[in-house]
């Protein structure tokens, strides 16, 4: 029996395994379905990773490489090309992970603890329901990224991108540099969902127009994309008649959001938070199932991999404590999203497990300036988070001190966006 099995060998899985090993747990196994470790970072060849963790601007493969080296130095065992099918928890609390690969065939692997780090996948055209056929030439931005950056295969010459999330923006620059003509990026919201720096260095640098409050209402072409209809939307996101423009193109890239990949979690009975679409977790990333932990994009979609690594290290620490029987399980606090906040992670906090503080990650619902995020227990304000500007695209990291929580023992932590006090 393994002490810990880690499902998914991306940055979250690697950081979790490394931390668990450092905490003194030896019998760890990482299972990865791809042909190499590193996860989605292998295709993210652009720079901008790791400023918090390594104080340098690394590319995705470089960032992944550092964690792969750490895992190799610690001699953590892993299996590649290994697909995890499902997981169950037996009555005696043993976890059984069912997996398959060519060499070992079908395996039922037992573990005391499991860390779920399967990442997320992209929403597709079907998932957002654009009318028209589904001709060749419609790709999710991540699929196009993998084709171009890893296989060297260009997906087209005349490109329209729907969605201004970071992947869409990064691909606008990438395809332009590779000689394609990116005609525009359409965003249904009145603001971009990507980091401002990506708008500057990916769109503005190359004079690629960003059409805010615009969406695609029809895809023309039966075998191959021939054009798309781009239409302006009103404040209720409804297309405005008479504003449609038909833009010829051979490629449509969709960058319309990511969904945590939780088939395995659901199958095992892990409770999913409807707001994040990922498991509800504790301060040390434990799900509702004792000994089952989750971290990274499988829990909630992160925009910075540094936060993925931070969160995953907590999961590694939690799993190590669980294996050694040191994990406290009495929940003191739950977190809730008040006005202006979309979701908060972790959902529950056991104060005894904290070192000196807990990082609460959250997303605001809309862009605001001259506001703060306040944290309340009952009617009492216990902490305030300031920023020049809050935008939904950038996850907020709100640190709450253990000493502040200890004053209350238990209750509900409520996060609210409020006007800045004069």
């Amino acid at each position: 029996m393994y002490d810990i099995i880690v499902i998914g060998g991306g940055p979250a899985g690697l950081a979790a395994a490394v931390e668990a090993k450092k905490e003194g747990v030896d019998n760890i196994l990482i299972l990865e379905r791809d042909r190499e470790l590193g996860g989605i970072l292998n295709q993210c060849i652009h720079n901008g990773f790791g400023l918090h963790t390594f104080k340098e601007q690394l590319t995705g493969p470089e960032y992944a490489g550092r964690y792969i080296d750490m895992a190799m130095d610690l001699k953590i065992p892993y299996k590649l090309n290994t697909m995890v099918l499902d997981m169950e928890r037996k009555d005696d609390d043993t976890k059984v992970v069912h997996a398959i690969n060519e060499e070992d065939g079908y395996m039922a692997l037992e573990a005391k603890a499991v860390i779920l780090t399967m990442g997320c996948r992209e929403r597709t055209a079907g998932a957002i329901g654009i009318p028209g056929f589904r001709p060749a030439g419609v790709f999710t931005a991540g699929t196009a990224q993998r084709f171009i950056n890893m296989e060297g295969y260009m997906t087209g010459k005349e490109v329209v991108i729907l969605g201004s999330g970071d992947i869409g923006l990064i691909m606008a620059r990438r395809m332009t540099l590779e000689g394609a003509h990116v005609k525009c990026v359409c965003e249904i919201m009145p603001y971009s969902n990507g980091l401002t720096r990506n708008i500057v260095q990916c769109l503005d640098d190359f004079n690629i127009p960003l059409k805010l409050s615009h969406t695609i209402t029809f895809i023309h072409g039966k075998d191959r994309v021939e054009a798309v209809d781009v239409t302006q939307v009103d404040e209720n996101l409804k297309p405005i008649p008479g504003t449609t423009e038909t833009i010829p193109c051979d490629t449509l890239l969709l960058s319309v959001g990511l969904i945590p990949e939780n088939e395995i979690s659901r199958g095992a009975g892990v409770e999913i938070d409807r707001r994040t679409q990922g498991p509800s977790i504790s301060e040390l990333c434990e799900t509702n199932l004792p000994g089952v932990f989750a971290a990274g994009n499988v829990v909630h979609v992160h925009d910075l991999v540094d936060f993925v690594s931070q969160e995953a290290a907590l999961a590694g620490k939690g799993a190590a404590r669980y294996v050694k029987g040191h994990l406290e399980e009495d929940i003191n606090f739950t977190t809730v999203n008040g006005d202006g906040i979309g979701n908060v992670v972790p959902e529950k906090i056991t104060v005894a497990n904290l070192d000196d503080s807990v990082n609460c990650y959250m997303r605001v619902r809309k862009v605001s300036t001259d506001t703060v995020i306040n944290c309340y227990i009952g009617d009492e304000k216990i902490a305030t988070k300031k920023a020049r500007k809050f935008v939904p695209a950038e996850m907020v990291n709100f640190k709450i001190k253990k000493s502040d929580l200890e004053k209350y023992h238990d209750g509900e932590l409520k996060f609210v966006v409020e006007p800045k006090e004069a």
Binding site: I45, G179, D205, R388
Partner: protein, 119 residues
């Protein structure tokens, strides 16, 4: 001259105001020293890191990710892409290996961003 811009040196994306001329610039709105450097550079000689790929033979996949070791002038991005499209490297390659010296006479090398063993 006065210009407002977003600092792209890190994901904070500070809003900078850069004012001045010649050798004399003041930057406000930055949260750190890199922002000042970026603001002045953007007015005098805008530069970018270029991350891209080159063809690799004998590895598990056919493209090796690379980047310019430092920022190169913005105006040379497409010329650099042209030069790099002619580069073919052989596996094995280690992260940090130089795949092209002095790209477009910038004095800056292009380096591998991934270790790829030979297969």
């Amino acid at each position: 001259m006065k210009k407002e811009m977003v600092c792209i040196s890190c994901p904070m994306g500070c809003h900078l105001t850069v004012e001045g001329e010649g050798d004399n610039w003041t930057v406000t709105g930055n949260s750190c020293k890199n922002g000042e450097r970026y603001g002045i550079q953007e007015m005098t000689d805008p530069r970018r890191i270029l991350p891209t790929t080159v063809v690799i033979k004998g590895a598990m996949i056919s493209r090796l990710p690379v980047k310019t070791a430092q920022e190169i002038p913005k105006g040379k991005l497409f010329d650099a892409m042209d030069e790099l499209s002619k580069v073919v490297v052989e596996a094995p390659v280690k992260v940090g290996d130089v795949v092209l010296k002095n790209v477009c006479d910038t004095g800056i090398d292009v380096i591998a961003t991934k270790t790829m063993p030979a297969v």
